[in-house]
Symmetry: C2
Subunit: 317 residues, 2 copies
């Protein structure tokens, strides 16, 4: 089968063996999405070697759970050991021995087939088209913010970054009824949020609103975004770190102590709330799709995904 592989910062489309672990479900990929993390992994982040990709919708081909065969599914990307306290409590997202689809020790979704434990799979309601279902993973990550901080209609929230993740985060937070400001540099991307009734600003405009926000979500992945996020936060406010920076950033500890702010890391979310939002068509994900390519054109697709102004790029095996 075809797969988009990385090895020592080298990307290639390879013809490899179909996965064949009998204890896991075999999923035929219908559509996969390129995430910024894929681009980082291609640059060497996490030292991953193998098939990349962790956003997908597919059809179960083989499974120990016969009822799943032929059904359309998405899959949570963390596969735990099943034995530690965290896994036994039903949440393998922080299992110390976990593998992560296309990120840590497990081949990923930019391929004709992938494997995941049966318990990672969730059925996709018929109403959700493939092109929306493929957003379940990044949308779950956006919903994950609400697992980490409480946000309600009385809060003032800013999201920094108008990329795919920022646009999903802004839409999810806006559903809470909170006052939302999306901060970004690209008017065409900001317009997607504006059409949903979300207020937007450039970083320069936002910088005038120092100390006015209860929660700021950093989704730009830039160190400058982190600095702006701190500036916008009120004393005792919460800064949600949603994207990782390349390398290290400087931390002014005195600022954190004197203003008693919190910096809260947020990674993967649960899929159920995301599927629920997609089923209700509660957000605009169509506008986030920039381009689609056949998997065989994956190298070009990766270059496009890394091009300024391009949002989600999909791959179809």
């Amino acid at each position: 089968m075809l797969a988009l592989r990385v090895n020592k910062k080298r990307l290639s489309i390879k013809n490899i063996q179909k996965p064949d672990r009998a204890d896991e479900a075999l999923v035929r990929v219908l559509l996969s999405g390129i995430c910024n993390t894929d681009l980082e992994i291609a640059r060497g982040y996490a030292g991953f070697k193998g098939t990349i990709g962790h956003e997908f919708v597919g059809v179960v081909e083989e499974s120990t759970d016969r009822s799943l065969a032929g059904r359309r599914v998405v899959g949570e990307i963390n596969a735990g050991c099943g034995k530690c306290d965290l896994c036994r409590a039903g949440d393998s997202r922080h299992c110390a021995s976990r593998t992560v689809l296309g990120i840590v020790g497990r081949d990923g979704a930019h391929a004709e087939f992938l494997q995941l434990p049966v318990e990672n799979l969730l059925l996709v309601p018929d109403k959700i088209p493939d092109e929306h279902a493929v957003f379940t993973e990044p949308l779950a990550a956006a919903c994950g913010i609400l697992e980490r901080v409480q946000i309600d209609a009385s809060d003032r929230v800013a999201v920094i970054g108008d990329g795919k993740l920022g646009l999903l985060c802004a839409q999810v937070v806006a559903l809470s009824g909170a006052d939302m400001l999306l901060v970004g540099k690209h008017s065409s991307k900001l317009r997607i949020a504006e059409r949903r009734g979300i207020e937007t600003a450039t970083p320069r405009q936002a910088a005038k609103r120092k100390r006015q926000f209860d929660v700021v979500v950093e989704a730009s992945g830039a160190a400058t975004g982190f600095g702006l996020a701190l500036d916008l936060l009120r004393p005792r406010g919460q800064l949600v770190l949603k994207s990782t920076f390349h390398g290290k950033t400087e931390l002014d500890a005195a600022r954190i102590v004197v203003d008693e702010v919190s910096i809260v890391g947020s990674r993967c979310g649960r899929f159920t709330p995301a599927l629920d939002l997609l089923n209700k068509a509660a957000l605009d994900v169509d506008s986030l799709i920039s381009e689609e390519y056949p998997l065989s054109n994956g190298l070009h697709a990766m270059r496009r995904a890394g091009t300024r102004g391009v949002l989600k790029v999909l791959l179809r095996p």
Copy 2:
């Protein structure tokens, strides 16, 4: 009156005018305590100019509230504008226009007299000797941890730093029934905690217990303490930043996102819980007092307070 003053990194004992604002209470200082923040201010932190010191117990000499005259008091150090939303809600600790005793725009406690708004003063119960009451402010700062994170008997907590602040934090947290580990480099200081039944470890010993703690309190003021604190934290754990670092430290954002940890700043606490603990003699503060000097010997006292191995140094006007 005598006062310990700083001006452009120069410390001196000066004879200055008694404070005379009619709208505030005049307090005769009985005893004041030297805090590490005083040492930092003497090195130029916060650009403060004037009388330093913010830990004290005193007697009210003059006040618009007659009932206070002659009474023994301690005083919350943040004096707000009284008009902003925060002040009107009864908490001036984050008022944007606040002055702070001996730290921001207000002469402090290493003097024969000081002034504070009447509403900042709290009566000291008779049972509490001056030598304990002078710990109200730093003990309140330790109690402030519990305003910022929830800690109960099921939690595993580490405090990094065996200085005055670390020893107070460890004792306060231990009262919650949580499993407590105090991490420090000085066996004589660790022994103070051990006598209270608190487990202790050197940084090297603690480093073997990676990812085992629900909450880690950084009270060492060293960048190495911050790194160790992150290492000890379990996924989704909370790192309480209790002391400021000199300058900036490096932040590995990926670490915070992947492990979904929180970094929580904590500064001033409320005085009431601290006075309550002192009244119950619930902690050992006697062992934290290293030396006492007359205020006139303040320069020597400051040098001693900055000497390795020395804990609290008190000044008596």
